[in-house]
Subunit: 413 residues, 2 copies
């Protein structure tokens, strides 16, 4: 089986910055039926990069090197990799020219330093970076492939999809084909989903599939992969395993593959021709932010209000002073009035509200940190109100709360 190794370059990765590359790369590579043998992180030092890339190259069939392709003195992946492979770097003026044009487009003069980014390992194929100035490189030597990719995920990920995955599929699939799907769940804990799925894990080998369960606050992702003699067979196995998994945890599945709660909700709104407005308190704009991460959200999303103060809940959403006085801002009545007020005020078909205590301060015995109320008001149905006590610190409570709100919206569509 083809062995891939990942070498991540960047002093920050050894200084406490969390490396999130594997969360993207692992599913990508597994989807091709390739095995990841090792991940290594080294700092911005030629010697360390040379050693790590050289050792990975000796053990693996494919080496992905991320980071260290910027224009500055401590971007040394080009040099370190060239030394590891015993190859020279050559300057390609046409690359610098395209970087210069890129700067010009944004009205800026390109610094001399960016010439470093125009150095290419001899024999390398240059991989276009549509998002940033650092081009990638692919070097093939002794029948093995080494890829240099930029460190910022916003640049690395599209380049991986456009340049690396197609090449690996062509070169290493070997008559073997892989298939993959991800079931996206919300409203269930990882351990509860795990327990329900346990019998499937036990029969995974017999079914010729592999299951990996991953989680983030409020969401559980079940990855199902298969490698078989044909794409059709691999897809058949994955589909059968996904159907078996849905029989066990289907009630929590909201989407598959690249779906997110916000993209699924958006697609359903667009399909109905409905519009949405939101009213948030403790999540401070994160719900609106998630909805507008989806390109084309302006088709259904009108906007919303972040009411971080009591006064603004009254003024902007028409929450009654009486409700605030009697029940407080963190109450089912306030959540209901926020959602209904937003819907009326913004003239939308649907509106969702969140009000709660994100912490760390502001909690009481009766209303502890994490207590959150949600409401969804929609055309042609009674307003739904939901109470959830969310675990975690401020950021986790805010993240989970927006997940609960989106799940509530989904159930209303």
């Amino acid at each position: 089986m083809t062995r891939v190794e990942i070498v991540c370059v960047g002093t920050e990765l050894l200084s406490g910055k969390v490396n999130t590359h594997m969360a993207f790369l692992a599913p990508c590579l597994q989807g091709l039926g390739l095995r990841i043998g090792r991940e290594s992180s080294v700092g911005d030092s030629i010697g360390e990069i040379r050693a790590a890339v050289g050792e990975a190259f000796a053990r693996a069939d494919v080496v992905l090197v991320t980071g260290g392709l910027g224009p500055t003195f401590d971007d040394l992946t080009r040099e370190g990799t060239a030394e590891a492979l015993g190859l020279r770097l050559t300057y390609r003026p046409q690359i610098f020219e395209s970087i210069r044009r890129r700067f010009l487009r944004y009205g800026r003069t390109v610094p001399e330093e960016n010439k470093r980014q125009a150095h290419v390992i001899e024999g390398a194929t240059v991989l276009r970076n549509r998002v940033g100035s650092a081009p990638g490189q692919r070097v093939v030597r002794s029948g093995k492939a080494v890829f240099l990719l930029p460190g910022p995920p916003a640049e690395m990920q599209p380049m991986m999809r456009e340049h690396v995955v197609p090449y690996l599929r062509r070169t290493y699939s070997n008559g073997q084909a892989a298939a993959k799907t991800i079931l996206r769940l919300s409203g269930v804990s990882e351990s509860a989903a795990d327990e329900r799925l346990d019998p499937l894990y036990r029969s995974a080998g017999r079914r010729g599939v592999e299951f990996t369960i991953l989680s983030e606050p409020g969401l559980v992702h079940l990855h199902i992969t298969a490698v078989a003699g044909s794409r059709r067979e691999a897809e058949r196995r994955v589909a059968a395993a996904a159907a078996a998994a849905r029989r066990r945890v289907g009630e929590w599945v909201f989407g598959v593959d690249d779906d997110t709660l916000e993209s699924v909700a958006g697609a359903r709104l667009a399909r109905r021709g409905w519009t949405l407005a939101v009213a948030e308190s403790c999540t401070g704009g994160l719900l609106s932010r998630r909805l507008t991460k989806v390109a084309g959200a302006s088709k259904y999303y009108l906007g919303g209000v972040v009411c971080y103060s009591d006064g603004s809940k009254v003024r902007e959403l028409g929450v009654s002073r009486d409700t605030l006085h009697r029940s407080g801002a963190v109450s089912p009545a306030c959540a209901r009035e926020m959602a209904e007020g937003a819907r009326e005020r913004w003239g939308s078909d649907c509106a969702v509200s969140i009000t709660g205590i994100a912490g760390p301060g502001g909690g009481t015995k009766a209303k502890p940190v994490g207590l959150t109320y949600f409401a969804c008001a929609r055309r042609g149905a009674a307003t739904k109100v939901l109470r959830v006590h969310l675990p975690g610190d401020r950021d986790a409570v805010q993240q989970r709360a927006t997940g609960v709100a989106l799940a509530l919206l989904l159930r209303s569509l």
Copy 2:
């Protein structure tokens, strides 16, 4: 300088689970003046563990191995490390007895499987785990130390503090102490800051400090570290280097260490007793989200409006229909009216607005994707309006735009 390597064991780390160990371990080790040379992650395989630990042991003075100390068949760190060091594993009945008593305390019978956890590398010192059943181990060989620590952070972190840090301080600190600071910059590109700082990099060795420059959309971070014979001397060197760096790039420095644009803006607002409201269009709530990530933001942040539609800009912010008709929503006039409207409507001392084209759709020749206008209206000064053409994809434009807005706000405070 003492070299430490980290080997993380666990198939999940190569399957997409994010490895957060470094966020804890790096500051721990840097605080002792130790240098982390490499981090490697391998799966639950004896061969992979043996190779990774053996190679790390050959290069480093200290190796920390995390994970793979559980009771199940795929917990193989004990075996792999013993093989790497050419040592045997011996069974220690007293360890199993203490695990048995631990289970008993929670009213459970200990499974036979847990006997695996009572196997210790010959000559190792056993490190007590107060949180879980897996004891740690410390093996000293050829003057080098190898530590085995459990994978769950809740177990690893206290064991690191109680057993590993004191040992390392005693054995390797050598009277050496470390100091560190980070200068946070905005409004400058990484390459431009780099060019200005270049002379400092050249003299870094002579000054006894190390510089690392890192960036994310709209921000540049300059890390300055020093190791010296005393904490005082290390701190003096870092302070001198930071002062020298400020002489070169001080105009862009907005904060230090854990400061963010939003935390610095919040602190300044709180100090003045001022309040803030926002009006966002293309950033869809992200500006508000960033402001409310800061705990205690409710002291100065009143809230804001996300106006994703033209109608809502008129209704919620009082933007004139005439402006929208003549100049469009992405215009200096609209940005100004949004900020002034938000300030008036919310009764705040300050208000910031953003209106632009985040893409991927919606761009024209005259108003391309990334074109963004900002305004800051504040008590006692004329409203400032800013035009910036931001590079990158939708998410990058949104991230950068909120950074520009926060920097504009900072300059007004």
